[in-house]
Amino acid sequence: MPSQLNKQGKFVVPGEKIGVIEEFLPGPGIYVDGGDLRAANVGFLLLNLAERKMSVFRPTRLKGAACTPRPGSIVIGETVSTQLTYCLIRIWMVGPRHLPGFFTGLLHISNVGLRVKNMFNVARPGDVVRARVISTKNRIRHLSIANKKLGVIYAFCSQCGELLRARPDKKLVCDACGSIELRKLASDYGRALL
């Protein structure tokens, strides 16, 4: 099928007819209109011949990809409040992309992955957290940090506001005032790129 392979990497704009539903399944960035496959996004065509699926690929370097946190996405955000049993997290990043605004997520104590009495030793206001969205039920984005790679990636001293340094025993120490604090740390604490 040389005619179909020629479409690989082709530049498309929204509304452009790419094929018919008998040829391919619509993937991300493709929609079906009266049996025709049309592009819904600007980008380059990606053909998956094994699954007979077609999608539109947008170079990751480009900002703005209309992404929102969905179940499964890894997000980065700032803790805005910590209560006994949950934290509210203001999400700024979904995967590698910065959001135009922010979304709010909820991290419940049952999704921390450790046995903790309360959330104050998990994340405190101002901490930067990496989490996974596990569900969007009841209009709430439920987050989970039950994974080595998930958790706090930058924490700030609750006494003086300095960035905390992780000691080898996984306790956090403030170089400015000497206080020692606990958090649920991600494996790359203090080294993550934002």
């Binding site: 530049f11 704009v13 929204p14 509304g15 600007v42 170079p59 370097r61 480009l62 703005g64 209309a66």
Partner: protein, 258 residues
């Protein structure tokens, strides 16, 4: 006393700016002109200059303004104080508020808003210089900015006006023609799908004239659509080349050819 109308068409059928009746003004389109917006576009149609920026989708605040089944499209059409001969107050006027609504309703049918429930998509349109046809240029620019921001769309929306001046049906009216002409018919459509999303009329036309005006405006929209596609293509292919050069890759065969 009646003001004397200037002759809008000369004996040879040329308009004030030397165009033929079915000719568009010189069109210049650029995509991604603003670094801080998710998507942006700049459209110049003769002396009309319009800038559009898109942000979103983002969380709606206060929460009750969000819709449970789709995104809210918020549009702001605004004319810069320096866009017209006499300084325009920067406060939104009745006309601007109405045009914001009209533009929003012209764009909405093209967007897959149901993909983003409980979010908002903001479109900001700034008219930098007004010389007639700003609503059409705004729709053209806004749809490009939305596509640039990666919002899924059924089709790009192109818009163009047709009208009647000195008894002749013409395409793409400028300010003087709009003011002193007999009628003005702005039209926005999704040319790829052949669906009209906006149709307005100001002035008097017979039913046959209206039909002809619509056909004329559709032809204009198709020309604008081609320019829109070209502007998007130029930008994406350029980015792709930059990426390939940075990674030291051979440019993909047939890559970027439309």
């Amino acid at each position: 006393m009646e003001l004397k109308k200037p002759p809008l068409i000369d004996d040879e059928g040329r308009r004030l700016d030397g165009r033929g009746p079915a000719e568009l003004r010189p069109l210049h389109i650029e995509v991604d002109v603003l670094a801080n917006a998710d998507g942006s576009a700049y459209v110049e149609q003769g002396n009309t200059k319009v800038l559009a920026a898109v942000y979103g989708p983002k969380e709606v605040h206060p929460r009750h303004l969000g819709l449970p089944d789709r995104a809210v499209l918020r549009c702001r059409y605004h004319m810069a104080p320096f866009s017209v001969k006499q300084r325009k107050s920067p406060a939104p006027s009745r006309r601007e508020i109405e045009l914001s609504k009209v533009i929003r309703e012209a764009l909405e049918p093209a967007l897959f808003l149901q993909h983003y429930p409980r979010t908002a998509i903001d479109v900001f349109i700034e008219v930098l210089q007004a010389d007639g046809g700003t609503r059409c240029a705004s729709i053209t620019a806004a749809s490009l900015a939305l596509a640039d921001a990666g919002i899924p769309m059924r089709d790009l929306v192109a818009a163009c006006a047709a009208g009647k001046i000195n008894g002749v049906l013409v395409l793409d009216l400028c300010d003087i023609e709009d003011k002193h002409g007999e009628a003005d018919v702005p039209l926005a459509m999704m040319p790829g799908l052949g669906r009209i999303t906006l149709l307005q009329m100001d002035g008097m036309l017979t039913p046959t004239e209206l039909k002809e005006c619509i056909m004329l405006a559709i032809e204009g929209c198709k020309q604008i659509y081609a320019a829109q596609k070209e502007a998007l293509r130029e930008r994406f292919v350029r980015i792709r080349k930059e990426v390939e050069e940075a990674e030291g890759l051979e440019p993909a065969e047939g890559g970027g050819e439309a």
